[in-house]
């Protein structure tokens, strides 16, 4: 389709906007002009552009132009809703927008509404909406839960969804889909615009945001961000690389990089790693004290805000962070980014690189510090992926009934709905396009009667039908509970950490603290703290020094993306004869030489299996390069299939490259047997027999139960109000398993296990690839460079197919009393 840039460029609005830009020394990029033209012709769409090129202004200025060209079509009230995934983005964005409006000479008001907005401000907004409102997906839903929602949206012309790639593929993305569908159906002329960075499935991203029959245009910026990737080489190659061992040594080489830069962000993958690097830097260069800071999710919000401001103002030399700084406002002074360890994915890597050299024509400079020498292959792989611009896809979630039932209550709360009408609306979303009549009735039954089982539900009045046939919420208490718990982000039970002398340090997972006793020391926010006492969800500490435990936070370990693993295999295969440009591979030559002489380096169409016999016992290694999660499933599957030949028990270890099965009894396996255990036949059946899928589903159900409103989440500080309503999702899961196996939320838990935990499609394709590969089976008597990091990995698990009763009997028979976790 063609968009007439020419026509739109003859309007007054265009002239005013471009003059304003010219005054600031800017010229519109062609994708901005295209966006303005498309908007002017009434279209919806999606803008794809790298960060730093003004993609925000492409859509925002389009709305301003449209208004200036035809002000008669706009009424007083809220005209533009701007959705951002994170709160911290909203504040600065609002400031920039208001500034532009003022300079251009309009009288529009921009305001923010999210969890940080105080109640008074919200009340003012409800009385009189600003012209532009910046919200999060959650606060948008909260607006829909207000009785006055029709008043709010009557003048609405456009909803813009910023950083759509961050939301797509999450339940928050589904929240956006639902809200947009509702608004579209009620306000016919609404335009929807998405703004996204490049991802693998852009067309699908557009289709999800703007589903048929509406048609959206995709506007892709031709401008490209230049990224300069520099590996930090260790002094010598360790031929037996040890995960995590090397990183710390490289601090000596990281310090000069920081000193040579204006301002640096160091990205780590876990909070534990960030705490460690903060300490390492201070030890290596004590003058950094006061010049560097630590930023991660467990640090007090106010401190984080201070750090972000200081970074913007150029007051900090470096900030050590986790993904907590992946997104957010531009930090102009930042000219260098350092990635510690693997970034695990191309998209994340580019996102992080983009945090330096923010203005359009600057080069983003990123250094990669490997935590073991094999990670240097990853640098080579990343370079290749960035060059080819092959970025991961974000698969949108579908049939997430927990989000749907929550949304139904939200809509019931804000004035009610008619079921038949709303069902049509919901079916217009990508997430629920396959919603059946039965599923819909089930959801209605769930919110009105509490579910399928049990006859005696006279107390249940969550949603009721009123005289006009509208489904509504009438009870204040239910309304309040729903508003308080709205959203799809389910957090671990967290505890506040405070000094006994007063002062707030941050948040920490309850399960970590529950393992400590008074006097134990741990590290948080870069400080050594001694636990004094725990009282009412608050941990009291005092400053201390000396040896302390760094908490290992749950969910810290991201798996390698399939995209990156493809390039890894490719680079590894090429490592025998690297080109002159592939410096990382040349540097690793001693390691590859050892791998080649002791075992083998797999070519792209080969699959390597090593059987290594040591004094300890028998180690079977396989290298699918599919990431830790998939390897966990594969290892369990291999163990299961081997034990069908003869009973044997294993312990397993894995990293992103491969996995190990270890047994102290002989693993006897011939080539034919190896072929058969690697077969893709009966794959999922065998997987299900080899893992405890019920246990996995139970864990997934935890979030689902919270989102669907079956479990009330505890908020620190607020938990007292809800104490009599606390329950465990595990108990509910068990009851549903026993009495209501067809419960949609229960089924959803299993589906999530298949799609997310077992990654069924990826597993299938991995086995397909292995089956078409030549299987290379090697024996060795010492560890090879590829096997060593897996062997020393601490995340070792043992595999036991015995049921609980057998395990307890065995513990009793072994004479020893079962150990108790402190």
């Amino acid at each position: 389709m063609s968009i007439s840039v020419k026509k739109s460029s003859q309007t007054d609005g265009y002239a005013i906007i471009t003059r304003w830009m010219a005054d600031k020394g800017n010229q519109p990029f062609s994708f901005q002009e295209k966006t303005w033209a498309a908007y002017a012709s009434g279209k919806s769409g999606m803008v794809v552009a790298p960060t730093g090129f003004g993609k925000t202004f492409s859509v925002f200025l389009a709305v301003l132009q449209d208004f200036m060209n035809q002000p008669e079509k706009y009424r007083a009230g809220l005209k533009l809703i701007w959705v951002t995934p994170i709160r911290s983005l909203a504040k600065d964005l609002a400031r920039a927008m208001q500034e532009a409006i003022n300079e251009i000479g309009l009288d529009w008001v921009v305001d923010v509404r999210n969890g940080d907005t105080d109640v008074k401000r919200k009340q003012q907004q409800s009385k009189q909406m600003p012209d532009v409102l910046l919200v999060t997906p959650e606060s948008l839903h909260l607006l829909l839960a207000q009785k006055a929602r029709n008043k709010f949206f009557k003048s609405l012309r456009c909803v813009a969804v910023d950083e759509w790639h961050e939301l797509l593929g999450t339940k928050r993305g589904v929240m956006i889909e639902l809200a947009l569908a509702y608004l579209r159906h009620n306000y016919a002329k609404l335009r929807i615009w998405g703004i996204t960075a490049t991802i693998g499935n852009l067309d699908q991203a557009l289709e999800v945001l703007i589903p048929a029959p509406m048609k959206g245009v995709k506007i892709v910026a031709t401008e490209k961000k230049k990224i300069d990737i520099q590996p930090v080489y260790p002094d010598e190659v360790e031929v037996l690389p040890w995960a995590g061992h090397m990183g710390g040594k490289l601090v000596e080489q990281v310090v000069p990089i920081i000193l040579a830069s204006k301002s640096t962000i160091l990205f780590t993958n876990t909070r534990g790693q960030s705490e460690m690097w903060y300490q390492l830097l201070l030890e290596a260069y004590p003058d950094f004290a006061g010049q560097i800071a630590l930023h991660h999710g467990s640090i007090d919000g106010a401190i984080r805000e201070w750090i972000e401001d200081a970074l913007s103002e150029g007051k900090l030399k470096a900030v050590v962070s986790t993904s907590s700084l992946d997104l957010g406002v531009d930090f102009k002074p930042v000219d260098t980014v350092i990635q510690i360890g693997s970034s695990k994915g191309v998209a994340r890597f580019m996102q992080r690189a983009g945090r330096s050299g923010h203005s359009p024509f600057e080069v983003s400079k990123i250094y990669v510090v490997p935590t073991h020498s094999l990670e240097l292959i990853e640098v080579a792989a990343l370079k290749e992926a960035v060059k080819n611009n092959t970025i991961e896809s974000r698969d949108p979630m579908v049939q997430t009934f927990d989000v749907l039932v929550q949304f139904l209550v939200t809509i019931a709360l804000g004035g009610g709905f008619r079921p038949a009408e709303l069902m049509t609306t919901m079916k217009d979303t990508h997430a629920f396009s396959y919603l059946t009549e039965e599923e819909w009735s089930w959801c209605l039954f769930f919110i009105t009667r509490g579910g399928q089982i049990g006859a005696n539900y006279e107390e249940f009045h969550k949603v009721v039908e009123n005289e006009e046939g509208l489904m509504v919420v009438t009870k204040r208490r239910i309304a309040m509970l729903h508003r308080m718990n709205l959203g799809v982000i389910v957090s671990e039970a967290m505890m506040r950490v405070r000094f006994t002398s007063g002062g707030y340090v941050g948040m920490i997972e309850e399960y970590f603290i529950s393992k400590l006793k008074a006097g134990d020391k741990f590290i948080l926010a870069g400080r050594v703290l001694e636990l004094v006492r725990i009282k009412e969800m608050t941990t009291y500490v005092r400053l201390s020094s000396g040896k302390a435990i760094t908490p290992s936070w749950l969910g810290g370990r991201l798996p390698l993306s399939s995209n990156l693993s493809h390039f890894l295999r490719q680079k590894l295969a090429r490592s025998v004869h690297p080109s002159a440009k592939e410096q990382e591979l040349r540097f690793l030559h001693p390691l590859f030489a050892r791998q080649q002489s002791f075992s083998h380096i797999p070519a792209e169409d080969e699959f390597l299996v090593e059987l290594i016999v040591t004094k300890e016992g028998y180690h079977l290694f396989m290298y699918p390069f599919e990431g830790r999660l998939i390897h966990e499933v594969m290892a369990a599957l291999m163990a299961y299939r081997i034990s069908r030949f003869s009973p044997i028990s294993f312990s397993m270890a894995m990293n992103d490259y491969g996995f190990e099965l270890f047994s102290d009894t002989e693993i006897s396996l011939n080539e034919d047997q190896l072929q058969s255990i690697l077969s893709a036949e009966n794959l999922m059946e065998d997987v299900l027999s080899s893992i405890n899928s019920t246990e996995m589903a139970k864990r997934k159900f935890r979030d689902i139960a919270v989102i669907a409103g079956m479990v009330v989440q505890t908020f620190p500080g607020a938990q007292k109000n809800n104490k009599s309503l606390q329950s465990s999702s595990g108990i509910i899961f068990q009851v549903l398993e026993d009495h209501d196996p067809q419960n949609l939320l229960l089924r959803q838990a299993y589906t999530e296990v298949f799609n997310q935990q077992l990654e069924e499609p990826r597993l299938q394709s991995a086995f397909k690839r292995i089956n078409t590969s030549k299987i290379i089976f090697r024996f060795a008597t010492g560890f090879t460079p590829l096997s060593f990091p897996i062997k020393v990995d601490s995340m070792r698990q043992s595999l036991s197919s015995e049921d609980l009763a057998t395990r307890i009997r065995r513990m009793q028979e072994s004479g020893g009393r079962p150990g108790k976790r402190r």
Partner: protein
Amino acid sequence: MKNIQEQEIDFAGEKLVLTNQRALYWPAENTIILSDLHVGKAAHFRKSGIALPQQVATRDMERLRDLITHYHPEKVLITGDLLHAGMNSEVALLKDIIQENDSCKFLLVKGNHDRLSDRAFEELGIRILADGYAIGNIHFTHGDRQFSAGIHSISGHLHPGIHVAVGRKSTMRFPCFVVSDTQLILPAFSLFSGLDTSCVPEGAFCYAIYEDGLFAVSC
């Protein structure tokens, strides 16, 4: 008969039988002793619009009925938190059990959740005992208040649980009876209840409960 596994212990010079149904039986007194039934909890949740299956409540009541059929006790003694939140439809299930067993006495030492008046309990057929009521030299209390040391007591309130290592890296949580020289803490009878794994005092013995039995863990 349903799945009832037993473990005999000595406490305060008496023989008591712990069961995997989270209740204990005192043969000499022909009494079942249990705590923290939280009857009506699921209904209380539903009143607040939280969808919970009816079975959450009926399961507990079926277990109580099974215990009574099995032991034919003269007395059922509850050390508090019988009702979670006042009167509601689920309390009727308890009332049914009390009426079915009119030869059995139901006794209650009130807990922090039992906010109904003594008279309301009497009307349900439950006799209220004073806090610290004693049979022989064993005293009964809910457990939310300090009890003078040296006195043998049976209490509830805490919902005790214990972590047990079941492999090199993994642990599991079990509800348990906690037994020390002078104190016996009962597990919460209701399956719809959480566990407190930090309340077990040093030197006490725990009897962890699982589906098919009990096992001892020393702390």
